[in-house]
Symmetry: C2
Amino acid sequence: MSQSPEHIEIQSVLLGNDTPLPLDCGTSISDFNMAYCTYGTLNAEKSNAILICHALTGDQFAASRQPVTGKNGWWEAMIGAGKVLDTDKYFIVCSNVLGGCMGTTGPKDIDPKTGEPYGLNFPIITIGDMVRAQARLQDYLEIDSWFSVIGGSMGGMQALQWASAYPERCFSAIPIACAPRHSAQNIAFHEVGRQAVMADPNWQGGDYYASENKPTSGLAVARMAAHVTYLSEAALHRKFGRNLQDRDNLTYGFDADFQVESYLRYQGINFVDRFDANSYLYITRAMDYFDLAQDHGGSLSKAFDNTKTRFCSVSFSSDWLFPTAENRDIVHALIAAAANVSFVEVETDKGHDAFLLETPELFKTVQGFLQSTAKSRGLTT
Amino acid sequence: MSQSPEHIEIQSVLLGNDTPLPLDCGTSISDFNMAYCTYGTLNAEKSNAILICHALTGDQFAASRQPVTGKNGWWEAMIGAGKVLDTDKYFIVCSNVLGGCMGTTGPKDIDPKTGEPYGLNFPIITIGDMVRAQARLQDYLEIDSWFSVIGGSMGGMQALQWASAYPERCFSAIPIACAPRHSAQNIAFHEVGRQAVMADPNWQGGDYYASENKPTSGLAVARMAAHVTYLSEAALHRKFGRNLQDRDNLTYGFDADFQVESYLRYQGINFVDRFDANSYLYITRAMDYFDLAQDHGGSLSKAFDNTKTRFCSVSFSSDWLFPTAENRDIVHALIAAAANVSFVEVETDKGHDAFLLETPELFKTVQGFLQSTAKSRGLTT
């Protein structure tokens, strides 16, 4: 039984046709599509809208059936009537990021200048560009200020960027399991993934859209490498340990002997059906480039100068991709900027992926924060 | 100036021609080559021989110029006159592992049955098989008992296997930065590497030796992914941080903008010149299969029952590939087996790679252990 909330709208809107969207790389993009889903109802004051920002391989189908995989939305645990992101109270918006591949304009779409897919002619985009595009969507929806902007991982980076770039359009922000800058180790892991894609001869310099063969092998390897980093050693040990796959004995070969191998292969193979390889390159690059302090003369607290936005920062104790220390850097900067901020490190052995899973302490934290912030906002539902 | 010790011998010997070497997979291998280097002089009592076991991508050139790369040996910091592994005192032996690609028989060598390279017809080998082959070399050298068997990472697994399988032929053992079993996370990382190799169309099911094109792209990706795991986040941060490559600004492209990217690419590209892709598959598989407790009815201490071998176990505080806790499992089992064991966790931020680097506390620990063990052995030099 699907537990999808009612009042779902899956939509797409063409933006930037009047005013092209300026990009951090120096160019601009006009006529870009923003694909988004909404859940719940916008109140008369337009004060109950929450923007959900998705992670690297996420999409706008946060609480809807993903059309390619047919699976439930990636945050159905959080979104719905009576849930933490309560569709009876809030109007939830989730849009596919710029550069993505689920309807928002990205490298697989047609470049109006050439009539061909962009491929690597798509401009390099940043987290700042993603948020700038979302601000256009906010304009389109005629919402002056989000009640909250929430997201985990790259979604958390967007929440931070929102609060920094548009403090007056963002009443509160909930950055989860993220960092104010992408670390050297994380850039390294992303580079491994990109090299895996680019090493696939079917990638063809990014110009594979007309080909029968897509760079699925390289993309699957990239996904596998990334997927290991989303889990903790403890979670992998608990889930799989050294358990063998459907067999009592080692096969003395290169088949997937261990359950963890077959799990990883499954992750890789399934990913390529729903994701574009070039989008993977662009979005990982956007994360690599993210460095809020660098954008503000080296001072992270300057990114949030005199902010009135209320913050709730959450980290997970076993997350080694975005460890608690990096999330704390955000909190320290916010405190230095005299911001209103609460911080919770959730104890869990589930690693970075915890933000996508049933994590009661995360739910409780976000729910509590939203309730008290709703009071400050004068939200009545 | 090369500081290579004198008395170097680079040799190769054909073994198993009289008695084929039985393998854990159930078959056996005859006429296999063991390529090895020796440093220093064997004493009259043949009691001063130390076996060095190399790691996944190591070789026998521990303290000699690597013939392909022209670089110094991988453990020159440890080996030499007056150094920790003192060539004035000890006779040092280092052999390329079975399944390797630097002279010891492996998948790139000719299968005498077919006259063609083995490729994937090479039998799956285990750490136990590697050690069994080294025992044949020990027989050939007419050494009854190694004064010590030492190695880091996969070399540490071999040291443990030696002490477990041949306690009477192994007076002491120094397993460094290893584990009694390969963890789920480490199997996962290995599987990513193997899938990267196998995804390369030039791999051709392992039958690429006659081809002009080798699976170098896939192998480079595998190496890059592995290399990230050898370093700590702190080491990467200290070494590279988010420093840009030869430029003041981001390029907004997919070139190596960050120094860490260009470093990784260099690691990948240089590796493929000296390593065979199939050997990479076989040796990672041998590590995956390693589980000393499983080989002894689930009890790790049974692997060392009544052992007289003296042990020195070393871990590194920032090693997340073989964390201290896994090294401690070895120590606890040895204590339960009433073995003579000392254990040191070296404080360093250099990660797993610390065993290959100038790590003074490692040197001091091994030197002290060897000196006291030399007394027990009645070694006079």
